[in-house]
Symmetry: C2
Subunit: 127 residues, 2 copies
DNA sequence: ACAGTATATACTATATTTAGTATATATTTG
DNA sequence: CAAATATATACTAAATATAGTATATACTGT
């Protein structure tokens, strides 16, 4: 994968936020949609472009489509996420807030509504 | 400066090559033009957009306009250049070739043609 | 003041990216 | 099989970015 393609990808704050979320574990489209507060179409299109780029992979669980970062994660992605998280910049705060929101959402859909893809729930269960 | 702006900048291979060159020291437009083999207009426009973004600064020496990276260099830029140079990827090879070409060009215009902005020549003189 | 060199800008054409609306597909449940 | 939910795609409109040509500006040396 070309570095420039990766930069183009993370040059969009929204896409960077997606990567940041997925780095914490797989998620389905509707949950990312809720965390990032974007319309379904936009979410779906961004995910599919990132998948096509080779950064993400997806599988279906019921009606849910679960996306995750490919393994191994592209080094340039990891390096930049790392950097940004330590940079104490505005973007970094956003990324942190997203992660917090993710935690809360997973807890809610797992424990309260009992309506969560298994793979996503497990992130809570085993900790 | 927003991270996304920096990513957008280095997502263009040409602009990344400019940053890579300038990281080794200031250069005037016509020399970068020669090293990167791009038309004058393109070079000038890219430089001016990067300057406007706050990554570069320029000053005049005679008819030459000398560009350099702002000091201190944006950390995200440094981190990524570092990463790319160690990554042994296709882009990295290009960046390395550019640096070699830069050395040769500066030597030529300094010693042979004696036609080089002082600030640029000095990079050779003192080593 | 004039010619030559280096650089920048205006304007235009073209390509690329993004966003929105509507619709389609896949799956589950009753 | 019909209804509901989650996701994807086609199509279009709008915004952005890029490239090219021509022209302008700034400076130097004569």
């Amino acid at each position: 994968m070309e570095a420039s393609e990766i930069y183009k990808c993370i040059a969009d704050p929204q896409r960077l936020r997606i990567i940041n979320l997925l780095e914490a574990g797989p998620l389905c489209v509707c949950h990312m949609q809720e965390i990032l507060e974007v319309p379904q179409v936009k979410m779906s299109k961004q995910l599919s472009s990132m998948k096509q780029l080779g950064l993400l992979e997806a599988h279906r669980e019921g009606t849910w489509m679960i996306y995750k970062l490919v393994d191994p994660v592209e080094g340039l992605i990891t390096a930049n996420l790392c950097y940004l998280r330590e940079a104490a910049c505005a973007e970094c705060n956003q990324l942190q807030r997203d992660l917090t929101k993710r935690e809360k959402l997973i807890l809610k859909v797992t424990k309260i509504e009992n309506d969560c893809p298994q793979e996503v729930c497990q992130q809570i269960a085993c900790c």
